[in-house]
Symmetry: C2
Subunit: 216 residues, 2 copies
């Protein structure tokens, strides 16, 4: 048996990326060099995927007018979400929930069309395609943090409307508007904790042994 | 503006974890020390989650008989999947799709119950809870690779049957049986590529600019 572990320094770097990654809404403009963007997308592309279906598709939004159209869709959903939240509506409206107009790059991450034929690992869990895409986005996020770039995942949009705006075929589905780019600083804690929106729960409450609700 | 990037060595370590992570089915027994398992679960717990809902729950399976029951459920679904695959049925049955009986630790990752009240970021995309759990699993996977441990995500099971076996409440849903532990070696490429099940597609086919199907 060989020792497959990373060196202590390498291991620490992986944990650093995991713990210092943040869902960013504040960006400082700038640009992302094409070769850097390519590295980040390759990191996403190295994600696991169920039955190797590689269901991820990425649309880079380089057209400023199109970016404005995407931001307008998010703003519409932000207001609808506030209405749905009822008594927390005002608190929600005070939060900054996206940095679409301020970030260097906007990417839309989507599920491919024609997914029904992929049965391996999905017969009882068809949503495994979405799980694979999410792993790809997490890879991109961690790589971006290592590169010193912030990223935010915006899910406040109407999927059919965004799909139509970007010319997606039937069956394809957008899952994320990703804001990417330089930031002045990374939040020391998740922004929703800092803003008092939610409290993080300790891990031990969420780990069971052999049976739901039974803590080790 | 501060330079937020990692050092070259740190950055390389993050990319190494991303590119050398594999979906493992071959394990070499052994154990995972409790403090190491705790580090891995903390890495998962550092994942992003929509509206900070932290929808992940992890059930550690320490009971060998229960592990056997889980493996039996997977075997049932493996046969059903083979039947559903039609002409690729025999090829599929030759693949090793899980290492439940050989790995050091089995964890079941699940979505919590009572998710409907979480509206932030989920009004139009309720499946964002599943996306958050998937990011947590990817964190765990990358941390495991850095620690020299293999992990495999098994999705061949019937969610209601597994939920019942583990005493999950209505609304909770298992998404992954995670096999974790020492391995003799990591596959140099995804196992499904090595076995000829599927070919990986190059990234450039999956990246568009401004509109679906339009390559940069």
């Amino acid at each position: 048996m060989t020792d497959q572990a990373f060196s202590d320094d390498e291991r620490a770097a992986v944990y650093r990326a995991i713990t210092e990654r943040r869902d960013m809404r504040h960006f400082s403009g700038g640009t992302v060099a094409p070769e850097l963007l390519a590295r980040l997308l390759e990191a996403a592309h190295h994600a696991p995927s169920v039955g190797l279906m590689q269901p991820w598709r990425f649309i880079r939004i380089s057209d400023r007018q199109l970016r404005g159209g995407i931001q307008a869709q998010v703003e519409e959903e932000r207001i609808r979400t506030a209405q749905a939240l009822g008594e927390r509506s005002d608190d929600f409206m005070r939060l900054k929930v996206e940095g679409i107009n301020d970030c260097a790059e906007v990417l839309v991450a989507a599920l491919m069309d024609d997914r029904e034929k992929h049965i391996f690992g999905r017969r009882t869990l068809p949503e495994m395609d979405l799980a694979s895409l999410s792993c790809a986005i997490q890879n991109l996020w961690l790589a971006a943090r290592a590169e010193g770039l912030g990223m935010g995942w915006v899910s406040l949009f109407d999927p059919p409307a965004l799909a139509e705006l970007l010319g997606m075929p039937p069956g394809a589905k957008p899952l994320a508007i990703l804001c990417l780019g330089p930031v002045a600083e990374f939040y020391p804690q998740p922004m929703l904790v800092m803003e008092g929106w939610a409290q993080a729960r300790p891990l031990n409450e969420l780990v069971y042994e052999n049976r739901w609700g039974v803590h080790p």
